[in-house]
């Protein structure tokens, strides 16, 4: 019992006037409550929406604490190619970022890029696995294949990647132009994958140089990540004319250093990333470029920044235009006849369906580049593997319907982005490890490896999640859970770009990326949704002084005094405290 506050005539004597001799601590007001607060780590929306399964909030938190190398390692645990995705990912994480509500999403891509470039200074793997006896073949060295190989190597498997092209990278090298992804950046990310002990055999086409059956016979498992390299045909008259060519073939030429003669007028058909890459590459070859798309700008599947850059660099856009015929002069394409479309009811993709109006118009064209989608040409070896026109069917761990044959990336019927491919490669690696190590388990066990509904975490699969989580709850923090009044408005930093006039003169990288100091500043803009940062808001606001700092960090709530008012949960800036009516 505390000493008397004021005394007259002896420490324990009750004086003539009524005078208090104790604090109120003997009164256990905690008995009043009908609900109890508790600290729970919940899932930040960026983590839940990342197709790769990166603990974005986790590395932002480490950066906030100045632990740059730990942040880099946490990123590398999930993503083998951070310098690549920091540049070319469509960053659904930023679309989900709760900070959008306040003053703009955190520029997550810029932070990832900074960490990815930083990782190039230390190419050696920070983690060495115990070698295992089994060997796995990965066919194709695009993002899916590289991710599968990387995670398998980190698990200890011997991995060989077979690549048909002369250099590894798949669509990252053949499809994505150097002004978006400089080749030295790509080379360094791939070199780190190889440094983990992955053997990459280039110039070997499985199916002709090596038989598929030979792979399945010599390796314990095979992962197919051969991509989708066949441009879909438009199916309109004149498509076979000289001058009309698949956009992908054009990109392959340009990315190999060739500079094909396009003539004056180039028309690009399509609204996806391949179309934008074609348009911007053609601009760099001196052409006047028009992009024809059958829907409107809002419905273009391309990354928003790519569309903006293409427009800034001078590409013209004709929307609601559907090619119906190519006309020729002297046996070479001369113009594209388009039908004017109008938007109708939403289709299966949720976007409004373009409807023909009957009205036509003509666009002059010396070259037409078609970019309306790609498909994969699979050999007879896959005849009895389930799939569709969209690609191979795989389960939650990348397994095809054939035992020990896994698949990931554009060769499957899933989303076709770099990030989705990296995530699929990781799933296949976990699937192969699970099979070869005879792990059994159910869906619930796999769900524990996810950030909410997001992709699997390699760190959690390996049981090496370096982040200590407080009573984790696998649910996403929404903007309603964030207390924005605890944050100061501070708009996000915009990426510096080359001036458009200079950019179109060559293939130098257009987006220069944020300088390290500004990227670090973006990391400090992170709200750390759902994760206690020991900011003291709960401690300060508790009207009952029932919250105090715990030994060794974080907080303790004195349940003898907590009245369950919920102010700590309401005031918590980041939704890391939840109220429940269960007794502790």
């Amino acid at each position: 019992m505390p000493e008397p506050i004021t005394t007259t005539g002896g420490a324990r004597a009750i004086p003539q006037v009524a005078m208090s001799s104790t604090s109120t601590l003997p009164t256990h007001t905690g008995t009043w409550k009908y609900q109890v607060p508790a600290y729970h780590d919940r899932v930040a929306p960026c983590n839940a929406r990342c197709p790769v399964g990166i603990d974005i909030e986790g590395y932002m938190n480490l950066l906030r604490l100045g632990r740059v190398e730990d942040a880099r390692d946490l990123l590398l645990t999930e993503n083998p190619l951070p310098a690549v995705t920091g540049r070319v990912c469509h960053h659904p994480c930023e679309n989900a970022c709760n900070r959008r509500t306040l003053d703009g999403a955190v520029a997550i891509h810029a932070v990832e890029r900074m960490l990815g470039d930083l990782a190039h200074q230390h190419p050696a793997p920070t983690f060495r696995a115990t070698p295992l006896a089994e060997r796995v073949a990965v066919v194709g060295s695009g993002p899916a294949g590289l991710a599968c190989a990387y995670h398998l190597a980190r698990l200890g498997y011997g991995v060989t990647i077979f690549e048909a092209a002369a250099e590894p990278g798949g669509m990252l090298r053949l499809g994505i132009p150097a002004y978006r992804l400089p080749r030295d950046v790509l080379d360094r990310d791939i070199a780190r994958v190889a440094a983990h002990g992955v053997e990459i055999r280039c110039g070997v086409r499985v199916g002709s140089d090596v038989a598929w059956a030979e792979l399945t016979a010599t390796f314990d498992a095979v992962c197919v990540s051969t991509g989708a390299h066949t441009s879909r045909a438009l199916g309109v008259p004149g498509e076979e004319l000289p001058g009309v060519r698949p956009g992908l073939a054009f990109l392959r030429d340009v990315n190999a250093g060739r500079r094909p003669d396009l003539g004056r007028h180039v028309v690009v058909v399509g609204g996806g990333n391949t179309a934008m890459d074609c348009a911007r590459s053609a601009l760099r070859l001196g052409a006047k470029v028009t992009v024809a798309y059958r829907r409107t700008r809002e419905q273009m599947p391309a990354i928003k920044e790519e569309i903006e850059d293409a427009m800034r660099e001078g590409a013209e856009f004709v929307f609601l235009a559907n090619p119906v015929e190519f006309t020729a002069r002297d046996g070479h394409v001369q113009a594209m006849v388009c039908e004017r479309m109008a938007l109708g009811e939403p289709d299966a993709s949720g976007r409004r369906r373009p409807m023909p109006t009957g009205e036509t118009f003509t666009l002059a064209a010396d070259t037409v580049l078609t970019a309306i989608g790609e498909s994969s040409a699979l050999t007879q070896f896959f005849a009895d593997v389930e799939g569709s026109d969209a690609g191979l069917r795989v389960d939650a761990l990348g397994g095809t319907t054939r035992d020990l044959l896994y698949a990931g990336g554009d060769v499957t019927d899933l989303e076709r982005t770099v990030a989705d491919a990296l995530g699929a490669g990781k799933r296949a690696a976990i699937g192969i490890d699970r099979h070869l190590r005879h792990h059994k388990g159910d869906t619930a066990e796999l769900n524990a490896l996810r950030f909410a509904q997001g992709n699997l975490s390699a760190a959690r699969w390996m049981g090496r999640d370096p982040i200590v989580r407080t009573a984790p709850v696998n649910e996403v923090v929404t903007a309603d859970d964030v207390n924005f009044t605890q944050f100061r408005r501070r708009p996000r930093h915009a990426d510096p770009h080359l001036p458009s006039a200079a950019a179109v003169q060559g293939f130098d990288e257009v987006n220069a990326g944020l300088p390290e100091a500004l990227a670090m500043d973006e990391a400090r803009r992170c709200l750390n949704c759902g994760v206690c940062t020991e900011c003291d808001v709960c401690l300060i606001f508790c009207p009952d002084a029932a919250i105090s700092r715990a030994e060794g960090g974080a907080y303790v709530i004195a349940m003898d005094y907590c009245k369950g008012c919920g102010i700590c949960a309401a005031e918590c800036p980041r939704g890391a405290i939840t109220m429940s009516q269960d007794r502790p």
Binding site: I5, P26, T29, G566, I567
Partner: protein, 302 residues
């Protein structure tokens, strides 16, 4: 870090203990906690009848770890004047005298003794924690109750018919060294004002908006958010006035509409759309008056 750094401002010295008898979600003990953190342990509290008489705890307990003098409703500033004089006679000039009074004890019952002490410029810090009615005795209206509000003595059929008394204006008219509004919902602002007041001499008056979940009829966890809304919609602007002339807003006020603030509180649930419009108009008029007054004082001081 874009999070506001309140933890830099507020030391964690526990001068208010757990086990006090405030209702769940009451902002008054939070206000006291922040005020005493800023003033430190060398403080004597004078406390006329109010909710806080109960919150302080039943004899022989006290939730405040500084001396507290409980006194009659009307006598806070008079008693504090005496305490101050006694301290000064003993040479304890650096001991803070904090008068902690509710809105009833300030706006109604204690107004004459407050005015007297202010006129004499007695050396004390007077905090009116204003929950806008006599909450402790069962939510009877006071002259701090806003126009249109329900209380048990102004039922929904006959809601409060008088506007809230302009207490800060009355205190500013005394020409006292420091007068300010604050709320525990903005702790950094509150602590800055108490700290500033502590360094000054004479009568310092702080009007604290202190949400009361049972009296306002809101959720236990909603009071502080409501207080922030009251600031941002200009119902209760955050300002300070030095020597009756130097006016200053201490933060930006978004000027949000008042309706969401009213609709979230049961005490305003009966209001018609016309009545809400009337309240909004009154807020706008008062804000314009405040702006004109600040402009005039600024011109006069040139």
């Amino acid at each position: 870090m874009s999070q506001l750094r309140i933890n830099d401002l507020i030391p964690d010295n526990r001068l208010v203990t757990s086990g006090h008898l405030a209702c769940p979600g009451c902002a008054a003990p939070l206000g006291m906690k922040l005020a005493l953190n800023a003033l430190g342990p060398n403080t004597i509290v004078v406390m006329p009848a109010s909710c806080f008489t109960i919150i302080a705890g039943p004899w022989p307990q006290s939730s405040l770890q500084v001396p507290v003098f409980h006194t009659a409703f009307a006598t806070g500033p008079a008693v504090a004047s005496g305490v101050r004089a006694a301290l000064d006679m003993q040479g304890q000039h650096d001991t803070n005298v904090l008068v902690w009074v509710g809105d009833g004890g300030t706006f109604d019952i204690g107004l004459q003794s407050l005015s007297g002490a202010a006129e004499r410029n007695e050396n004390m810090i007077y905090v009116c924690y204003d929950n806008e009615a006599y909450m402790n005795t069962g939510i009877q209206r006071s002259s701090a109750t806003p126009w249109g509000a329900w209380t048990t003595t102004t039922p929904a059929q006959f809601p409060e018919a008088s506007p809230k008394k302009d207490m800060l204006g009355i205190m500013v008219a005394h020409g006292i060294p420091y007068a300010a509004t604050a709320t525990p919902a903005y702790p950094a602002d509150l602590v800055a004002k108490i700290t500033k007041a502590k360094a000054m001499h004479g009568m310092r008056f702080i009007h604290l908006l202190s949400p009361c979940p049972p009296g306002w009829k809101c959720g236990d966890d909603e009071g502080l958010e409501l207080a922030r809304m009251a600031v941002q919609n200009r119902v209760f602007p955050m300002l300070e006035v030095e020597h009756g002339t130097r006016w200053r807003l201490t933060m930006e006020h978004a000027g949000d509409p008042v309706e969401p603030y009213l609709r979230r509180q049961g005490r305003f649930r009966h209001l018609s759309a016309e009545q809400v419009t009337h309240i909004q108009a009154q807020i706008d008029v008062r804000w314009q008056q405040l702006m004109r007054r600040m402009e005039a004082e600024a011109l006069a001081s040139v």
